[in-house]
């Protein structure tokens, strides 16, 4: 037995396992910010990645263009058919926005949950091990990016900012399995004037590649193809960012709520340029929302 403990290698292994567990525990904690050495390392590699990102996007751009050329004809046909609708829609939208502005002025209500200012960014890296779905983008604190901001592409919401450094930030995709990743969402009524329902996006079905929209009231009638957008009620994201479309609805395990499966509008794999969305309306202070009466007791 004493010989067993004298074995240097074994002790070394045990110590490294202890360090491993301690490090994992340290990094899984709800960290507000990464440590300074980590930020420094990420910024340095971000700089190198930036150098490589330019030629890479150029080359893959060429391949993308070639692929686009292949189905130009059929695409063109479809687009032409939609063009007529577009003209009418555009006129409608303009009229509605104007009317909306006027009405808002009458009510003297300037800010809405809808307002946001976008920050353009380019993706310079992606986690290769594909367990933690993370992207690295080339804008950081200097550009005004803060943790928990929403990140969108042209097709819809893709995730949120997980951590920021001076010159780069890390984006966590919606497909990452993270129990703290909850987004308040709204299922829009199929036609104008119909009731819309609220729920929260919680989790991702890896095998079906669909987002799970939970906590929808059991009596809500939801159909396939209804649009899902952010509701802005979570306090961080602005309202009205598109998320996707409902594919399937199931009652949850206790029958008290429903769970809708949402096909994300954005492709989580082919991401080059993203927009980080900064909400204009003030974020509610967490301490305001918690009753502090309990503490007085």
């Amino acid at each position: 037995m004493p010989q067993f403990f004298l074995n240097k290698r074994l002790i070394f292994l045990l110590i490294s396992i202890i360090i491993l567990v301690a490090l994992i525990g340290f990094s899984l904690r709800d960290r507000e910010e990464l440590t300074v050495p980590e930020q420094f390392l990420k910024d340095t590699t971000g700089w190198i990645q930036n150098v490589f990102a330019k030629p890479q996007s150029y080359v893959s751009g060429i391949f993308g263009d070639l692929k686009d050329l292949q189905n130009t004809y059929s695409e063109n046909k479809e687009l032409k058919s939609r063009l007529d609708e577009m003209a009418k829609l555009e006129a409608d939208v303009q009229q509605l926005t104007k009317e909306n502005d006027e009405l808002r002025e009458i009510l003297d209500k300037k800010e809405t949950l809808r307002d946001y200012s976008p920050i353009q960014a380019t993706v310079i890296g992606r986690n290769p091990d594909r367990w933690h779905e993370l992207l690295i983008i080339n804008k950081g604190k200097v550009n005004g990016i803060k943790a928990n901001m929403a990140v969108v592409t042209a097709n819809g919401l893709i995730g949120k900012v997980k951590s920021t450094q001076q010159f780069t930030s890390t984006v966590q995709l919606l497909s990452a399995l993270d129990p703290t990743n909850r987004i308040s969402a709204e299922i829009q009524g199929k036609e104008a004037g119909k009731e819309s329902f609220y729920g929260t996006i919680e989790g991702y079905d890896e095998e079906r590649e669909l987002l799970k929209l939970k906590r929808i009231p059991f009596d809500a009638k939801i159909e396939k193809g209804q649009n899902v957008i952010t509701s802005g009620l979570g306090g961080i994201f602005p309202e009205g960012l598109p998320i996707g479309k409902v594919v399937d609805v199931e009652p949850d395990e206790f029958g008290l709520n429903q769970t809708a499966y949402v096909k994300p509008g954005a492709n989580f794999y082919d991401i080059r340029n993203v927009m980080v969305v900064k909400r204009e309306m003030a974020q509610p202070d967490l301490s305001d929302m918690i009753d502090d009466e309990e503490e007085e007791l």
Partner: protein
């Protein structure tokens, strides 16, 4: 120049993994199979087995830490697994002959060990809820095939580089 060639190559492979994942066509990704490049561990294993095992483990340690900080933000997993696998493979090689086929097979084994180890750890800390059968079929197998192709293509240049680097280090002494 010779001294910094290998570290530069490692940094390039490190960045290349992310570029590879990013520029793989969407169809390959969007299919059910998940392909994961593990080129860094292959390079580390070639350095360990053909060059100097101490150097290999040292590289494993530093690039494991870099990988954790930059890509996963969970410290410890790669920092622990890279040197451990390099050590295990170096131990296995003591009873085997060092030729390119054997070394290639051992590095593929190392990739499999890494994949399994990372899966188990992520499963433990609840970062994934993938079932093992799904994992084995759609992730482990395609990943091994991808990395085998990489080994077949680059085993010879990697071997030459590692040997040269160690010869250079010995001369320095």
């Amino acid at each position: 120049m010779k001294k910094i060639l290998l570290p530069l190559l490692f940094i390039f492979i490190f960045i290349f993994e992310s570029i590879f994942v990013q520029s793989l066509p969407a169809e390959v990704f969007h299919g059910e199979r998940i392909l994961v490049p593990h080129f860094l561990i292959i390079a580390i294993l070639f350095l360990t087995l053909y060059g100097d095992s101490k150097q290999g483990i040292l590289y494993g340690l530093s690039f494991g830490l870099l990988f954790d900080v930059v890509y996963t933000e969970v410290l410890g997993i790669y920092l622990f697994l890279f040197p451990l696998i390099a050590y295990i493979c170096a131990k296995i090689m003591r009873i085997l002959q060092t030729n390119i086929v054997v070394v290639s097979i051992i590095s593929l084994l190392g990739v499999a060990l890494l994949e399994l180890g990372v899966y188990e750890m992520n499963f433990l800390i609840n970062k994934t809820d993938m079932s093992f059968s799904f994992y084995a079929q759609y992730r482990l197998l395609p990943t091994l095939i991808l990395n085998l192709t990489f080994i077949i293509l680059f085993s010879y240049p990697l071997k030459r580089l590692s040997e040269k680097y160690v010869a250079y280090l010995n001369k320095e002494k």
